[in-house]
């Protein structure tokens, strides 16, 4: 498999091979991530293609490292936009289920004391993530960033699906406590 640096070089040379190599190497990961959110093969395909186009437009001048993280962020953002646009369709994606879990552990809107913007909130979540073990951090990120199913996460970390469900419940409880301590009622 071609190295990331070579793919980025192809982008810089404006070679269309860059997209083909990107898709060969990371297409599967991107499609799964997008599908987890939009819950529709066709929409996921569209999101991933849009992400490739986004990468094509951004590189250069950008020189992403690591490339996959960068690409996943684009795929996720585009897929979320698609999700909200088509929310009326009420598709039951793993993203929807993951967000229902999160909503159940956070305070009601009437309890909002401090209005945190997304970036501030991200810093608080990061500091919470730093309190977790690497394994629990990965489980959390795979669930609430990648919207992976508990079954897929179980396969990734070598635990049972039940274990993952229990771990996630505990992590959410911890996060709720942490956010309250930090004065964040989201």
């Amino acid at each position: 498999m071609i190295e990331d640096e070579k793919i980025v070089e192809l982008f810089f040379k404006r070679s269309e091979l860059a997209i083909r190599e990107l898709d060969n190497k990371y297409g599967k990961v991107c499609h799964r991530l997008s599908y987890n959110i939009v819950n529709n093969r066709q929409d996921a395909e569209e999101c991933v293609n849009d992400a490739y186009l986004g990468a094509w437009n951004a590189i250069p001048p950008e020189k992403p490292d690591p490339l996959l993280t960068y690409l996943c962020k684009i795929v996720r953002n585009i897929s979320l936009k698609m999700y909200y646009r088509k929310q009326a369709a009420k598709r039951s994606s793993t993203y929807t289920i993951a967000m229902e879990e999160i909503e159940a552990c956070i305070a009601a809107p009437s309890m909002v004391e401090t209005e945190f913007d997304a970036r501030e909130l991200a810093r608080v979540i990061e500091s919470f993530l730093d309190t977790l073990t690497a394994e629990n951090r990965v489980i959390f990120m795979r669930r609430y960033w990648f919207s992976d199913s508990c079954k897929d996460i179980a396969g990734l970390v070598g635990l049972t699906e039940k274990n993952i469900t229990v771990r996630l419940t505990r992590i959410r409880q911890k996060m709720k406590k942490y956010l309250i301590e930090k004065g964040v009622f989201i």
């Binding site: 996959l68 993280t69 996943c72 996720r76 999160i102 909503e103 956070i106 690497a134 990120m141």
Partner: protein, 182 residues
């Protein structure tokens, strides 16, 4: 909040958390963990080996090659002279050797009724008759390519107990060698 705000915040999460989740490989981590444990075990073994080697070189593991005798002084003499057989000893001679009454009384009093005496089965009656301390001063020269020990005079106390049946005295303990004497 609503989940949308949470999602927005997650979108702002530092790349390192995303990269960590992308590159997570349980088997690799287990191997890494096993490797760390192996390195730790190897380090502990190395340190213990070094300590053992040092102790050996300092003679801390050397058992006294004693010949129990009905005379405590002779038992100690045989033990000291037995050191001459060690490969790193060039010369050895006993300068002075005697039963130290004061030290005997002091150590007897110390052991009397103690936990150590109980563990070793020494009653006060046994200590009174069958325990003695011998002091010795001896001179040694060593092969310094084989040992760290210094040449010169050494003073040392030897603690002996007597077998009630055979009447022979055996060294059961000794103080650290005092090499500061001339």
């Amino acid at each position: 909040m609503n989940s949308k705000k949470f999602t927005e915040a997650m979108s702002e999460i530092d790349n390192k958390y995303v990269s960590e989740a992308l590159s997570y490989n349980r088997i690799r981590l287990l191997k890494k963990s096993h490797k760390r444990i192996a390195v730790l075990v190897a380090a502990v073994i190395a340190v213990l080996s070094l300590c053992g080697f040092t102790a050996y070189e300092l003679g801390l593991f050397d058992p006294w090659l004693q010949k129990p005798s009905a005379e405590p002084i002779e038992t100690v003499r045989s033990a000291i002279e037995g050191q001459a057989d060690k490969e790193y000893t060039i010369a050895l001679r006993v300068e002075d050797i005697k039963v130290d009454e004061d030290e005997t009384a002091r150590v007897k009093a110390m052991y009397s009724g103690s936990e150590l005496a109980e563990v070793r089965g020494w009653t006060d009656e046994y200590l009174k008759e069958h325990f003695i301390v011998v002091w010795a001063k001896y001179y040694t020269e060593y092969d310094h390519t084989k040992t760290f020990l210094d040449d010169g005079y050494t003073e040392q106390y030897f603690y002996l107990t007597q077998d009630t049946k055979s009447g022979e005295w055996t060294i059961i303990d000794n103080t650290s060698p005092n090499t500061s004497s001339k």
